[in-house]
Protein backbone atom coordinates (compact mmCIF):
# COMPACT_ATOMS: atom_id res chain seq x y z
CA UNK A 1 0.00 0.00 0.00
CA UNK A 2 1.20 3.50 -0.77
CA UNK A 3 2.19 5.95 1.89
CA UNK A 4 0.25 9.03 2.92
CA UNK A 5 2.55 11.98 3.41
CA UNK A 6 1.52 15.50 4.38
CA UNK A 7 3.64 18.58 4.05
CA UNK A 8 2.42 21.42 6.18
CA UNK A 9 3.72 24.91 5.59
CA UNK A 10 2.73 27.82 7.81
CA UNK A 11 1.84 30.81 5.62
CA UNK A 12 4.08 33.84 6.15
CA UNK A 13 4.89 32.35 9.51
CA UNK A 14 6.61 35.26 11.27
CA UNK A 15 4.18 37.80 9.87
CA UNK A 16 1.16 35.68 10.84
CA UNK A 17 2.36 35.30 14.41
CA UNK A 18 2.94 39.03 14.62
CA UNK A 19 -0.49 39.73 13.15
CA UNK A 20 -2.03 37.58 15.82
CA UNK A 21 -0.29 39.60 18.53
CA UNK A 22 -1.12 42.93 16.92
CA UNK A 23 -4.84 42.83 16.22
CA UNK A 24 -4.71 46.58 15.61
CA UNK A 25 -2.73 45.94 12.41
CA UNK A 26 -5.45 43.74 10.98
CA UNK A 27 -5.81 44.29 7.26
CA UNK A 28 -2.65 46.40 7.07
CA UNK A 29 0.59 45.41 5.39
CA UNK A 30 3.21 44.11 7.81
CA UNK A 31 6.77 42.91 7.38
CA UNK A 32 8.99 41.32 9.96
CA UNK A 33 12.55 42.50 9.59
CA UNK A 34 15.63 43.46 11.50
CA UNK A 35 16.10 46.64 13.40
CA UNK A 36 16.42 49.45 10.83
CA UNK A 37 18.56 51.48 13.26
CA UNK A 38 21.15 48.75 13.66
CA UNK A 39 21.34 48.37 9.86
CA UNK A 40 20.22 44.74 9.85
CA UNK A 41 17.78 46.04 7.40
CA UNK A 42 16.14 43.25 5.46
CA UNK A 43 12.64 41.83 5.28
CA UNK A 44 12.46 38.34 6.77
CA UNK A 45 8.79 37.74 6.07
CA UNK A 46 6.09 39.91 4.58
CA UNK A 47 2.39 39.19 4.88
CA UNK A 48 0.20 38.68 1.84
CA UNK A 49 -0.96 42.27 1.67
CA UNK A 50 2.63 43.50 1.52
CA UNK A 51 3.61 40.75 -0.90
CA UNK A 52 0.88 41.83 -3.27
CA UNK A 53 2.46 45.30 -3.36
CA UNK A 54 5.76 43.80 -4.38
CA UNK A 55 7.53 43.43 -1.04
CA UNK A 56 9.76 40.39 -1.14
CA UNK A 57 11.70 38.44 1.42
CA UNK A 58 15.30 39.62 1.51
CA UNK A 59 14.53 43.16 0.38
CA UNK A 60 16.19 46.00 2.23
CA UNK A 61 13.74 47.78 4.50
CA UNK A 62 13.98 51.02 2.54
CA UNK A 63 13.15 49.17 -0.69
CA UNK A 64 10.12 47.63 0.95
CA UNK A 65 9.05 51.06 2.13
CA UNK A 66 9.30 52.34 -1.43
CA UNK A 67 7.18 49.50 -2.78
CA UNK A 68 4.61 49.85 -0.03
CA UNK A 69 4.76 53.17 1.85
CA UNK A 70 2.17 52.35 4.54
CA UNK A 71 3.95 49.18 5.59
CA UNK A 72 4.61 48.51 9.29
CA UNK A 73 7.95 46.93 10.20
CA UNK A 74 8.15 44.78 13.28
CA UNK A 75 11.40 43.53 14.77
CA UNK A 76 11.64 39.74 14.81
CA UNK A 77 10.92 37.87 18.05
CA UNK A 78 12.56 34.55 17.46
CA UNK A 79 11.67 33.05 20.82
CA UNK A 80 8.01 33.70 20.16
CA UNK A 81 8.18 32.03 16.74
CA UNK A 82 9.97 29.04 18.22
CA UNK A 83 7.22 28.74 20.82
CA UNK A 84 4.63 28.73 18.05
CA UNK A 85 6.64 26.24 16.08
CA UNK A 86 6.72 23.93 19.09
CA UNK A 87 2.98 24.28 19.58
CA UNK A 88 2.47 23.38 15.92
CA UNK A 89 4.61 20.29 16.41
CA UNK A 90 2.47 19.33 19.39
CA UNK A 91 -0.58 19.42 17.15
CA UNK A 92 1.17 17.31 14.49
CA UNK A 93 2.18 14.85 17.19
CA UNK A 94 -1.49 14.01 17.74
CA UNK A 95 -1.51 12.45 14.29
CA UNK A 96 1.87 10.82 13.89
CA UNK A 97 5.22 10.26 15.51
CA UNK A 98 6.80 10.46 12.08
CA UNK A 99 7.32 14.16 11.63
CA UNK A 100 10.30 15.83 10.13
CA UNK A 101 10.67 19.59 10.44
CA UNK A 102 12.11 21.47 7.47
CA UNK A 103 13.03 24.81 8.91
CA UNK A 104 10.97 26.47 11.58
CA UNK A 105 7.63 26.63 9.76
CA UNK A 106 7.43 23.51 7.61
CA UNK A 107 7.04 19.85 8.46
CA UNK A 108 6.56 16.55 6.73
CA UNK A 109 4.19 14.12 8.40
CA UNK A 110 3.84 10.47 7.54
CA UNK A 111 0.25 9.68 8.51
CA UNK A 112 0.02 6.32 6.73
CA UNK A 113 -0.67 4.40 9.93
CA UNK A 114 -3.12 6.87 11.44
CA UNK A 115 -5.22 6.98 8.29
CA UNK A 116 -7.27 3.99 9.45
CA UNK A 117 -8.24 5.72 12.69
CA UNK A 118 -8.41 9.35 11.71
CA UNK A 119 -9.59 9.08 8.12
CA UNK A 120 -7.70 9.59 4.90
CA UNK A 121 -4.90 12.08 4.32
CA UNK A 122 -7.21 14.82 3.15
CA UNK A 123 -9.36 14.54 6.24
CA UNK A 124 -6.36 14.65 8.54
CA UNK A 125 -5.07 17.68 6.65
CA UNK A 126 -8.42 19.41 7.15
CA UNK A 127 -8.38 18.65 10.84
CA UNK A 128 -4.83 19.96 11.24
CA UNK A 129 -5.65 23.07 9.26
CA UNK A 130 -8.70 23.80 11.43
CA UNK A 131 -6.83 23.24 14.65
CA UNK A 132 -4.03 25.54 13.52
CA UNK A 133 -6.60 28.23 12.94
CA UNK A 134 -8.50 27.83 16.18
CA UNK A 135 -5.63 26.92 18.53
CA UNK A 136 -2.77 28.97 17.15
CA UNK A 137 -4.56 31.56 15.07
CA UNK A 138 -2.38 30.99 12.01
CA UNK A 139 -3.08 29.39 8.66
CA UNK A 140 -1.22 26.57 6.94
CA UNK A 141 -1.06 25.19 3.43
CA UNK A 142 -0.96 21.43 3.31
CA UNK A 143 0.03 19.12 0.50
CA UNK A 144 -1.23 15.52 0.60
CA UNK A 145 0.61 12.96 -1.46
CA UNK A 146 2.34 9.60 -1.56
CA UNK A 147 5.86 10.98 -1.25
CA UNK A 148 7.63 13.92 0.34
CA UNK A 149 8.51 15.77 -2.85
CA UNK A 150 4.96 15.92 -4.20
CA UNK A 151 3.59 16.68 -0.75
CA UNK A 152 5.82 19.73 -0.70
CA UNK A 153 4.72 20.68 -4.21
CA UNK A 154 1.15 20.36 -3.01
CA UNK A 155 1.67 22.72 -0.10
CA UNK A 156 3.19 25.29 -2.46
CA UNK A 157 0.46 24.80 -5.06
CA UNK A 158 -2.12 27.02 -3.46
CA UNK A 159 -1.61 29.56 -0.71
CA UNK A 160 -2.68 30.64 1.82
CA UNK A 161 -4.87 28.34 3.89
CA UNK A 162 -5.39 25.59 1.37
CA UNK A 163 -5.14 21.83 1.03
CA UNK A 164 -3.94 20.33 -2.22
CA UNK A 165 -3.79 16.65 -3.01
CA UNK A 166 -1.17 15.14 -5.30
CA UNK A 167 -2.20 11.52 -5.48
CA UNK A 168 -0.86 8.90 -7.88
CA UNK A 169 -3.63 9.52 -10.41
CA UNK A 170 -3.37 13.31 -10.15
CA UNK A 171 0.25 14.31 -10.23
CA UNK A 172 0.53 14.10 -13.99
CA UNK A 173 -2.20 16.68 -14.44
CA UNK A 174 -1.36 18.86 -11.43
CA UNK A 175 2.37 18.70 -10.80
CA UNK A 176 3.59 18.21 -14.32
CA UNK A 177 2.24 21.55 -15.51
CA UNK A 178 4.20 23.47 -12.91
CA UNK A 179 7.48 25.13 -13.86
CA UNK A 180 10.48 22.98 -13.08
CA UNK A 181 11.75 25.64 -10.69
CA UNK A 182 8.99 24.67 -8.23
CA UNK A 183 10.69 21.36 -7.63
CA UNK A 184 12.84 21.06 -4.52
CA UNK A 185 16.50 21.42 -5.46
CA UNK A 186 15.89 23.16 -8.75
CA UNK A 187 17.42 26.50 -7.93
CA UNK A 188 17.92 29.48 -10.18
CA UNK A 189 20.99 28.24 -12.03
CA UNK A 190 19.68 24.70 -12.47
CA UNK A 191 16.47 26.15 -13.85
CA UNK A 192 18.35 28.40 -16.28
CA UNK A 193 20.23 25.38 -17.55
CA UNK A 194 17.04 23.35 -17.95
CA UNK A 195 15.42 26.18 -19.92
CA UNK A 196 18.33 26.21 -22.30
CA UNK A 197 17.59 22.57 -23.07
CA UNK A 198 13.92 23.35 -23.57
CA UNK A 199 12.84 21.79 -20.29
CA UNK A 200 10.31 24.17 -18.77
CA UNK A 201 7.90 22.17 -16.65
CA UNK A 202 8.20 19.33 -14.18
CA UNK A 203 6.46 17.18 -16.79
CA UNK A 204 9.20 18.02 -19.31
CA UNK A 205 11.73 16.99 -16.73
CA UNK A 206 9.95 13.71 -16.06
CA UNK A 207 9.75 12.87 -19.76
CA UNK A 208 13.39 13.66 -20.45
CA UNK A 209 15.70 10.69 -20.67
CA UNK A 210 17.40 10.15 -17.32
CA UNK A 211 20.77 9.71 -19.05
CA UNK A 212 20.60 13.16 -20.57
CA UNK A 213 19.92 14.70 -17.19
CA UNK A 214 22.81 12.78 -15.67
CA UNK A 215 25.10 14.10 -18.39
CA UNK A 216 23.93 17.63 -17.55
CA UNK A 217 23.93 17.57 -13.76
CA UNK A 218 25.81 14.45 -12.70
CA UNK A 219 24.11 12.29 -10.11
CA UNK A 220 21.82 15.18 -9.15
CA UNK A 221 20.26 14.75 -12.62
CA UNK A 222 19.08 11.32 -11.76
CA UNK A 223 17.73 12.54 -8.42
CA UNK A 224 15.74 15.32 -10.12
CA UNK A 225 14.40 12.88 -12.68
CA UNK A 226 13.23 10.56 -9.91
CA UNK A 227 11.66 13.49 -8.03
CA UNK A 228 9.73 14.59 -11.11
CA UNK A 229 8.42 11.08 -11.75
CA UNK A 230 7.28 10.56 -8.17
CA UNK A 231 9.88 7.90 -7.42
CA UNK A 232 11.04 9.67 -4.27
CA UNK A 233 10.81 7.12 -1.47
CA UNK A 234 12.83 8.88 1.21
CA UNK A 235 11.29 8.27 4.61
CA UNK A 236 9.96 10.93 6.95
CA UNK A 237 12.38 10.91 9.82
CA UNK A 238 11.15 10.03 13.28
CA UNK A 239 10.43 12.87 15.65
CA UNK A 240 13.34 14.15 17.73
CA UNK A 241 16.03 12.45 15.72
CA UNK A 242 17.27 15.71 14.36
CA UNK A 243 20.52 15.24 12.50
CA UNK A 244 23.61 15.73 14.63
CA UNK A 245 25.03 19.20 14.36
CA UNK A 246 27.74 19.51 11.76
CA UNK A 247 29.06 22.88 12.70
CA UNK A 248 28.37 25.78 15.01
CA UNK A 249 28.79 29.27 13.74
CA UNK A 250 27.76 32.81 14.23
CA UNK A 251 27.87 35.85 12.04
CA UNK A 252 26.80 39.42 12.37
CA UNK A 253 26.28 42.50 10.32
CA UNK A 254 28.03 45.13 12.35
CA UNK A 255 26.37 48.35 13.52
CA UNK A 256 28.95 50.29 11.50
CA UNK A 257 31.44 49.33 8.79
CA UNK A 258 34.69 47.88 10.05
CA UNK A 259 37.72 49.91 9.07
CA UNK A 260 40.71 48.58 10.98
CA UNK A 261 42.23 45.32 12.15
CA UNK A 262 41.20 46.22 15.68
CA UNK A 263 37.55 46.52 14.66
CA UNK A 264 37.66 43.09 13.10
CA UNK A 265 39.50 41.65 16.07
CA UNK A 266 36.76 42.85 18.41
CA UNK A 267 34.06 41.27 16.30
CA UNK A 268 35.98 38.05 15.79
CA UNK A 269 36.60 37.68 19.53
CA UNK A 270 32.98 38.46 20.26
CA UNK A 271 31.73 35.88 17.77
CA UNK A 272 34.31 33.34 18.90
CA UNK A 273 33.12 33.71 22.47
CA UNK A 274 29.64 32.79 21.38
CA UNK A 275 30.76 29.94 19.13
CA UNK A 276 33.04 28.48 21.80
CA UNK A 277 30.38 28.85 24.48
CA UNK A 278 27.88 27.00 22.31
CA UNK A 279 30.41 24.27 21.56
CA UNK A 280 30.97 23.83 25.29
CA UNK A 281 27.28 23.89 26.06
CA UNK A 282 26.61 21.10 23.59
CA UNK A 283 29.66 19.08 24.51
CA UNK A 284 31.58 19.51 21.27
CA UNK A 285 35.02 20.51 20.16
CA UNK A 286 35.90 21.64 16.67
CA UNK A 287 38.82 20.71 14.47
CA UNK A 288 38.26 23.29 11.76
CA UNK A 289 37.88 27.03 12.16
CA UNK A 290 36.18 28.95 9.40
CA UNK A 291 35.64 32.65 8.87
CA UNK A 292 33.40 34.48 6.45
CA UNK A 293 33.85 38.10 5.49
CA UNK A 294 31.68 40.41 3.45
CA UNK A 295 32.83 43.88 2.46
CA UNK A 296 30.57 46.86 1.88
CA UNK A 297 30.58 46.14 -1.86
CA UNK A 298 28.82 42.90 -0.85
CA UNK A 299 31.74 40.82 -2.06
CA UNK A 300 32.16 37.91 0.29
CA UNK A 301 34.45 34.96 0.87
CA UNK A 302 35.00 32.19 3.39
CA UNK A 303 38.27 30.58 4.44
CA UNK A 304 38.83 27.65 6.73
CA UNK A 305 41.75 26.02 8.41
CA UNK A 306 42.29 22.74 10.19
CA UNK A 307 43.77 23.08 13.64
CA UNK A 308 46.05 20.60 15.38
CA UNK A 309 44.11 20.05 18.59
CA UNK A 310 40.36 19.82 18.74
CA UNK A 311 39.23 22.76 20.80
CA UNK A 312 36.40 24.67 22.39
CA UNK A 313 38.67 27.21 24.02
CA UNK A 314 37.57 30.73 23.15
CA UNK A 315 41.11 32.06 22.93
CA UNK A 316 42.27 29.35 20.53
CA UNK A 317 39.30 29.70 18.19
CA UNK A 318 39.51 33.48 18.18
CA UNK A 319 43.25 33.51 17.60
CA UNK A 320 42.98 31.10 14.72
CA UNK A 321 40.07 33.00 13.18
CA UNK A 322 41.94 36.28 13.43
CA UNK A 323 45.06 34.70 11.95
CA UNK A 324 43.06 33.39 8.97
CA UNK A 325 41.57 36.82 8.54
CA UNK A 326 44.94 38.58 8.55
CA UNK A 327 46.25 36.13 6.00
CA UNK A 328 43.36 36.62 3.62
CA UNK A 329 42.25 40.22 3.71
CA UNK A 330 44.07 43.23 2.35
CA UNK A 331 41.61 45.99 3.28
CA UNK A 332 40.55 47.00 -0.18
CA UNK A 333 37.17 47.95 1.23
CA UNK A 334 35.57 48.35 4.64
CA UNK A 335 33.85 45.26 6.00
CA UNK A 336 30.17 44.98 6.62
CA UNK A 337 29.73 41.52 8.02
CA UNK A 338 31.91 38.87 9.66
CA UNK A 339 31.26 35.27 10.67
CA UNK A 340 33.12 32.64 12.67
CA UNK A 341 32.34 28.95 12.55
CA UNK A 342 33.67 25.81 14.18
CA UNK A 343 33.32 22.73 11.99
CA UNK A 344 34.37 19.09 11.87
CA UNK A 345 33.02 18.60 15.36
CA UNK A 346 34.05 15.84 17.70
CA UNK A 347 32.69 14.73 21.01
CA UNK A 348 33.87 16.40 24.18
CA UNK A 349 35.63 13.27 25.42
CA UNK A 350 37.54 12.89 22.18
CA UNK A 351 41.13 11.86 22.91
CA UNK A 352 44.15 12.80 20.94
CA UNK A 353 47.90 12.42 20.89
CA UNK A 354 49.78 15.08 22.78
CA UNK A 355 53.08 16.19 21.42
CA UNK A 356 56.20 17.06 23.36
CA UNK A 357 56.01 20.79 22.80
CA UNK A 358 52.38 21.66 23.40
CA UNK A 359 51.40 22.76 26.88
CA UNK A 360 48.43 20.75 28.04
CA UNK A 361 48.48 22.32 31.49
CA UNK A 362 47.97 25.76 29.94
CA UNK A 363 45.08 24.50 27.87
CA UNK A 364 43.56 22.97 30.95
CA UNK A 365 43.72 26.31 32.70
CA UNK A 366 42.10 28.03 29.75
CA UNK A 367 39.29 25.48 29.73
CA UNK A 368 38.69 26.07 33.42
CA UNK A 369 38.64 29.79 32.84
CA UNK A 370 36.12 29.47 29.99
CA UNK A 371 33.99 27.25 32.20
CA UNK A 372 34.03 29.87 34.93
CA UNK A 373 33.07 32.61 32.49
CA UNK A 374 30.17 30.47 31.28
CA UNK A 375 28.91 30.03 34.83
CA UNK A 376 29.28 33.72 35.62
CA UNK A 377 27.37 34.70 32.51
CA UNK A 378 24.66 32.18 33.17
CA UNK A 379 24.13 33.52 36.67
CA UNK A 380 24.61 37.24 36.19
CA UNK A 381 24.10 37.91 32.50
CA UNK A 382 26.30 38.13 29.47
CA UNK A 383 27.94 41.46 30.18
CA UNK A 384 29.04 40.65 33.74
CA UNK A 385 32.48 39.71 32.47
CA UNK A 386 34.16 41.03 29.35
CA UNK A 387 37.51 40.96 27.68
CA UNK A 388 39.48 44.20 27.90
CA UNK A 389 39.47 44.21 24.11
CA UNK A 390 35.71 44.78 24.12
CA UNK A 391 36.13 48.16 25.80
CA UNK A 392 38.10 49.48 22.85
CA UNK A 393 34.77 50.02 21.12
CA UNK A 394 31.65 49.37 23.11
CA UNK A 395 29.32 50.08 20.22
CA UNK A 396 30.78 47.15 18.29
CA UNK A 397 31.10 44.77 21.18
CA UNK A 398 27.69 45.36 22.68
CA UNK A 399 26.00 42.46 20.98
CA UNK A 400 25.08 39.33 22.87
CA UNK A 401 25.80 37.00 20.01
CA UNK A 402 24.89 33.74 21.67
CA UNK A 403 21.31 34.72 22.24
CA UNK A 404 21.01 35.49 18.55
CA UNK A 405 21.32 31.92 17.25
CA UNK A 406 19.55 31.56 13.94
CA UNK A 407 17.47 28.68 12.70
CA UNK A 408 17.87 27.46 9.16
CA UNK A 409 16.40 24.54 7.26
CA UNK A 410 18.68 21.56 7.03
CA UNK A 411 19.42 20.17 3.60
CA UNK A 412 16.92 17.66 2.27
CA UNK A 413 19.50 14.89 2.19
CA UNK A 414 20.45 15.46 5.80
Amino acid sequence: MGRTILHSDANCFYASVEHLHHPELNGKPVAVGGDPEARHGIVLTADYIAKKRGVKTGMALWQAKQACPEITFLPPRMDLYLRFSNMAHEIYADYTDLQEPFGIDESWLDVTSSATIKGDGYKIAQEISNRMKSELGITVSIGVSFNKIFAKLGSDYKKPDAITTMYQDEFQTKAWNLPASDLLYVGRSTYQKLIRYGIHTIGDLARTDEKILVSMFGKMGSVLWAFANGYDDSPVKIEDTSAPIKSIGNSTTTPRDLLTDLDVKIIIYMLSESVAARLRKNGFRCRVVEISVRDNGLFSFTRQHKITNATNITEEIAKEAYRIFKENYNWEKPIRSVGVRGADLVNDNYWEQLDLFSRPELREKQMKMDGTVDILRKRFGYFIIQRGLMYQDTLLSHLDAEANGRVHPHGYFG
Binding site: L20, H22, P23, S134, G137
Partner: protein, 85 residues
Protein backbone atom coordinates in the same frame (compact mmCIF):
# COMPACT_ATOMS: atom_id res chain seq x y z
CA UNK B 1 -15.70 45.92 16.31
CA UNK B 2 -12.23 44.44 16.41
CA UNK B 3 -10.71 47.79 17.21
CA UNK B 4 -12.63 48.13 20.45
CA UNK B 5 -11.03 45.02 21.95
CA UNK B 6 -7.92 45.19 24.06
CA UNK B 7 -5.85 42.60 25.80
CA UNK B 8 -6.12 42.99 29.56
CA UNK B 9 -3.77 41.07 31.80
CA UNK B 10 -5.39 40.30 35.11
CA UNK B 11 -4.56 38.79 38.45
CA UNK B 12 -6.26 35.47 38.97
CA UNK B 13 -6.87 33.33 42.02
CA UNK B 14 -6.73 29.75 40.88
CA UNK B 15 -6.85 26.30 42.32
CA UNK B 16 -5.03 23.13 41.40
CA UNK B 17 -7.41 20.21 41.66
CA UNK B 18 -6.14 16.90 42.87
CA UNK B 19 -6.28 15.58 39.29
CA UNK B 20 -3.77 18.24 38.36
CA UNK B 21 -6.14 20.59 36.58
CA UNK B 22 -5.71 24.31 36.90
CA UNK B 23 -9.01 26.01 37.68
CA UNK B 24 -9.33 29.79 37.88
CA UNK B 25 -11.72 30.84 40.65
CA UNK B 26 -11.61 34.61 40.88
CA UNK B 27 -10.53 37.32 38.48
CA UNK B 28 -9.19 40.51 40.01
CA UNK B 29 -9.84 43.32 37.57
CA UNK B 30 -7.49 46.27 37.02
CA UNK B 31 -9.49 48.48 39.39
CA UNK B 32 -9.30 45.87 42.17
CA UNK B 33 -12.82 44.50 41.83
CA UNK B 34 -13.08 40.77 42.38
CA UNK B 35 -15.19 38.76 39.99
CA UNK B 36 -16.05 35.28 41.08
CA UNK B 37 -16.11 32.63 38.37
CA UNK B 38 -19.34 30.75 38.89
CA UNK B 39 -18.74 27.98 36.44
CA UNK B 40 -16.21 26.86 33.84
CA UNK B 41 -18.01 25.52 30.83
CA UNK B 42 -15.06 24.63 28.66
CA UNK B 43 -11.28 24.61 28.61
CA UNK B 44 -9.31 24.20 25.42
CA UNK B 45 -6.26 25.43 23.63
CA UNK B 46 -7.24 28.37 21.48
CA UNK B 47 -6.07 31.58 19.93
CA UNK B 48 -7.62 34.91 20.71
CA UNK B 49 -7.89 36.63 17.36
CA UNK B 50 -9.56 39.63 18.92
CA UNK B 51 -7.03 40.44 21.62
CA UNK B 52 -4.02 38.67 20.14
CA UNK B 53 -2.49 35.72 21.93
CA UNK B 54 -2.75 31.98 22.39
CA UNK B 55 -3.10 29.63 25.29
CA UNK B 56 -5.64 27.69 27.29
CA UNK B 57 -9.03 29.29 26.88
CA UNK B 58 -11.46 28.94 29.77
CA UNK B 59 -15.05 29.67 28.99
CA UNK B 60 -16.18 31.13 32.31
CA UNK B 61 -19.57 32.15 33.57
CA UNK B 62 -19.20 35.38 35.51
CA UNK B 63 -22.26 37.15 36.83
CA UNK B 64 -24.40 35.04 34.57
CA UNK B 65 -22.42 36.05 31.48
CA UNK B 66 -20.01 33.98 29.45
CA UNK B 67 -16.46 35.34 29.25
CA UNK B 68 -13.26 33.96 27.85
CA UNK B 69 -10.26 33.84 30.17
CA UNK B 70 -6.94 32.89 28.59
CA UNK B 71 -3.99 31.30 30.31
CA UNK B 72 -1.34 32.44 27.85
CA UNK B 73 1.65 30.30 27.01
CA UNK B 74 3.86 32.79 28.85
CA UNK B 75 2.00 31.85 32.08
CA UNK B 76 -0.02 35.06 32.29
CA UNK B 77 -3.78 35.41 32.38
CA UNK B 78 -5.65 37.76 30.11
CA UNK B 79 -9.19 38.56 29.11
CA UNK B 80 -10.60 40.25 26.04
CA UNK B 81 -11.65 43.60 27.42
CA UNK B 82 -13.60 46.40 25.84
CA UNK B 83 -11.77 49.67 25.56
CA UNK B 84 -12.80 51.95 28.35
CA UNK B 85 -14.27 49.07 30.26
Amino acid sequence: MDVAIRKVYVNVMAEFTKDGNLMPRTIIWEDGTNYEIQRIKDCRRAASLRAGGVGLRYTCVIGGQEKYLFYEDNNMWFVEGNTGA
